[in-house]
């Protein structure tokens, strides 16, 4: 964010506690000092108000970054995101662009309870006019965020409380990661595993390792990265090669993010599939407060390993 704000003075940050408190998760540490209260703005506790302010600023030519303390809180400002941000460019016949990034933590973190653990990806990914990305590493987060800030359309940028503290290699020199492009993390020949964001860091990479090392299954692991637009070309090429596909997601299954991806794949890849596409997702319940129950509702290592083995008739 700092780099982009130095590069382009139209970029500013607004959100709850982003300025004086350095951000609820300390993402904006030091930014108030560096850029002053004109460009790092503490907002009142009204998502509708500051999301709308951001959209208004974007229509006037600024490039706001709007931080939500949690994506769960955007349920109160859906009108701003789904109606205004997504549709203004279309309804103005392309005259008004909305170059804005909405970012914040999404999904199940740790004992935040049912109302603060929403996974909003499917909700926003189904809306034409929005771009939705979910990084799974510091390298991705930086490269994708820079592209998101430079994007002329509203970008829904989904972080996770549980990966904000992750450490990883980030190049010193400037780089951008394109929106709409998936990343093949590991090439393999037996089965394509699709995941993204938090589930990837929590369990999927680990499960991939177990499948490869202990079960001799040559997994092709794809970090979907961009949930809208979906990089169908990369995904289909992989599924046509491996003939099997597993989607792993922490969203609910019914009408979930993975269900949407599955629908995109199954018909074009149908004649190449050697097994039904598997969709491993969270249980169909409100997110429990209890630590053990919360964990139990999410895809597990054993569950992934046994599901993939079953696809091979083992």
């Amino acid at each position: 964010m700092i780099e982009e704000m130095e590069r382009d003075d139209r970029v500013f940050l607004i959100g709850e506690e982003v300025a004086q408190y350095d951000g609820a998760y300390k993402v904006s540490r030091g930014m108030l000092q560096k850029f002053g209260p004109q460009r790092v703005v503490d907002a009142p506790i009204s998502e509708t108000a500051f999301a709308g302010l951001g959209i208004g600023a974007a229509t006037c030519g600024l490039r706001p970054i709007v931080e939500f303390m949690s994506w769960s809180f955007t349920l109160v400002c859906l009108d701003q995101l789904m109606n205004n941000a997504a549709n203004i460019r279309y309804m103005s016949g392309g005259q008004i662009k909305i170059p804005i990034v909405f970012r914040g933590v999404n999904g199940i973190a740790h004992q935040l309870g049912a109302t603060h653990s929403h996974r909003v990806q499917a909700m926003y990914s189904r809306v034409p006019g929005l771009v939705v990305v979910a990084p799974s590493s510091p390298y991705e987060a930086k490269g994708l965020l820079k592209s998101a800030i430079r994007c002329d359309d509203p970008v829904i940028f989904l972080e996770s409380e549980k990966i904000l503290a992750d450490k990883g290699e980030v190049p010193d020199e400037e780089y951008l990661l394109p929106l709409g492009v998936a990343n093949v993390e590991r090439t393999g020949s037996d089965v394509t595993i699709l995941s993204y964001g938090r589930p990837l860091t929590r369990i999927v990479r680990q499960a991939t390792e177990v499948l490869v090392k202990d079960h001799g299954i040559d997994v092709e692991l794809i970090d979907v990265r961009s949930l809208r637009p979906l990089d169908l070309a990369t995904i289909l090429a992989s599924v046509r090669k491996t003939h099997r596909c597993v989607i792993i997601d922490e969203d609910w299954g019914y009408c979930g993010m993975g269900a949407g991806i599955l629908h995109q794949i199954h018909k074009p890849a149908f004649d190449d599939l050697d097994a039904p596409i598997e969709y491993i997702h969270a249980d169909d319940i409100p997110v429990p407060f209890s630590h053990d129950l919360e964990l139990a509702m999410l895809p597990s290592l054993d569950g992934i390993v046994s599901t993939v083995n079953e696809m091979f008739g083992r």
Binding site: H243, F270, D271, D272, L273, D274, A275, M311, G313
Partner: protein
């Protein structure tokens, strides 16, 4: 209660069926799964099983009767009701009601458990090169074979009989590896395994072998050919001494590249040249129009266990000898492994059958329609021939052309053979 037995839909295209034979009489007790009748569809005669137990109260259709799919064939009394009364009610029901045409015979609510209706005995599936290859996903005991889309696609491409493949995927599903394993080593199948070297049959014993699907298709196509096409046969002896010497010289040069040309390769090259000069033979005939071709697509009959396949070497007129060799080797190898794609078995404009390896002096072949001719290639062998008044040993090859007299006259065939002979006896002519 009483349950209707209706004409099942046993194939996608079936709209009506004929009751060929009843195995149960009115009043007989029947058990679920027992053979009830033979039903003839548009494709084959299939067994119809009882899907419910009870007493066969009434047979509403006599043997030989043809009714639409879904029409009532019989009524079964499944409970304590009086079969006679059920029969009179059924008969009073009058003429056949034919419910939704696509409806399969289904157990009445609460009765039976499975949708089993019939057993496919012989659904003939045409093998290539017939253009009307139908869906190979046969039914097994009335249930569709469980198979992955990928495996289904590969099986279709390779012409694999799915009823012989053992599925090892989840729920016994046939998956890609099962097709691969089957093609690598087809298991000795059911009753009708195609046997490579048939087991000896003991004295006094007999062996009944049911037709495989491929056998069915071959039988059908060849009967159609021989009954429709007035074949004539023209035989010519060709001195291939020079050609054989040329082949040896070329092979010596090609040795470092591990390419070894066969006489058939040179023959294919000469055929391409000769056929372009005689387009009447490089043609197809659909009964109305003759189509002639500016390229030569050469069908090559390849023997496989209990059958034959005719892969097509396309555009042989545009190939040099090395390409002919390499492509032929690839096609023949995959033909023997039954791994050809449908496209590679279609579209020949002329065919050859080469039984030279069996040491035949000469033989004749049956035309593969819609082509209008086929060339039978026997063995090249040293023979005593007269040259300049004396008897000398020369390498001779006898070719027999079968022509379709409806569209190619004997003189046309003879003229073509003369051109071919000229090219083979003086291979340099091919350069002209």
């Amino acid at each position: 209660m009483s349950v209707d037995i209706t004409m099942p839909q046993l194939s996608d295209t079936m709209t009506e069926g004929t009751v060929v034979k009843w195995y149960k009489n009115e009043g007989d007790r029947i058990k679920e799964g027992e053979k009830l009748a033979d039903v003839e569809t548009d494709k084959a005669v299939m067994e119809m099983e009882a899907f419910t137990s009870g007493v066969l109260a009434a047979r509403l259709i006599a043997e030989g009767g043809k009714v639409p799919v879904g029409a009532r064939l019989a009524v079964v009394a499944t409970g304590k009701e009086d079969p006679a009364q059920v029969k009179s009610q059924a008969s009073a029901g009058g003429a056949e009601k034919a419910p939704e045409p696509a409806k399969k015979a289904e157990p009445a609510p609460g009765e039976g458990t499975g949708p089993a209706t019939a057993t496919a005995v012989a659904a003939p599936v045409a093998v290539a090169p017939s253009p009307s290859a139908s869906n190979p996903v046969a039914e097994d005991n009335g249930r569709p074979i469980r198979i992955s889309p990928l495996a289904r696609r590969i099986a279709l491409e390779k012409g694999v009989d799915l009823s012989l493949v053992q599925g090892t995927g989840p729920l016994g599903r046939i998956i890609e590896r099962d097709i691969a394993a089957f093609m690598a080593a087809p298991p000795p199948a059911k009753v009708t395994a195609p046997v490579v070297s048939p087991a000896a049959i003991g004295p006094g014993a007999t062996q009944v072998i049911a037709m495989t699907k491929m056998r069915h298709a071959i039988a059908k196509n060849l009967v159609a050919s021989k009954q429709t096409i007035p074949h004539y046969y023209s035989t010519i002896d060709i001195d291939v001494e020079e050609l054989s010497a040329l082949r040896e010289r070329l092979n010596a040069i090609l040795e470092s590249r591990r390419i070894r040309l066969s006489l058939s390769d040179l023959l294919a090259r000469a055929l391409a040249t000769a056929l372009l000069k005689h387009p009447a033979l490089n043609a197809t005939f659909d009964g109305t129009n003759i189509t002639r071709y500016g390229d030569v697509h050469l069908g090559m009959a390849v023997a496989i266990p209990d059958g034959l396949i005719v892969p097509v070497l396309r555009n042989v007129n545009r190939m040099g000898l090395i390409e002919i060799r390499q492509r032929t080797a690839d096609l023949v190898e995959r033909a023997r492994a039954q791994r050809l794609k449908q496209d590679e078995m279609r579209g020949a404009t002329f065919s050859v059958s080469n039984l030279g390896a069996y040491g035949l002096r000469e033989f004749s072949a049956i035309i593969n329609p819609p082509q209008v001719a086929v060339l039978a290639i026997a063995a090249a062998e040293k023979r005593a021939v007269v040259r300049g008044g004396s008897i000398v040993a020369r390498t001779m090859l006898t070719l027999t052309l079968s022509g379709d007299h409806r569209v190619v006259d004997g003189a046309d065939g003879a003229d073509f053979l003369r051109t071919l002979k000229g090219l083979l006896e003086e291979p340099g002519m091919m350069l002209l």
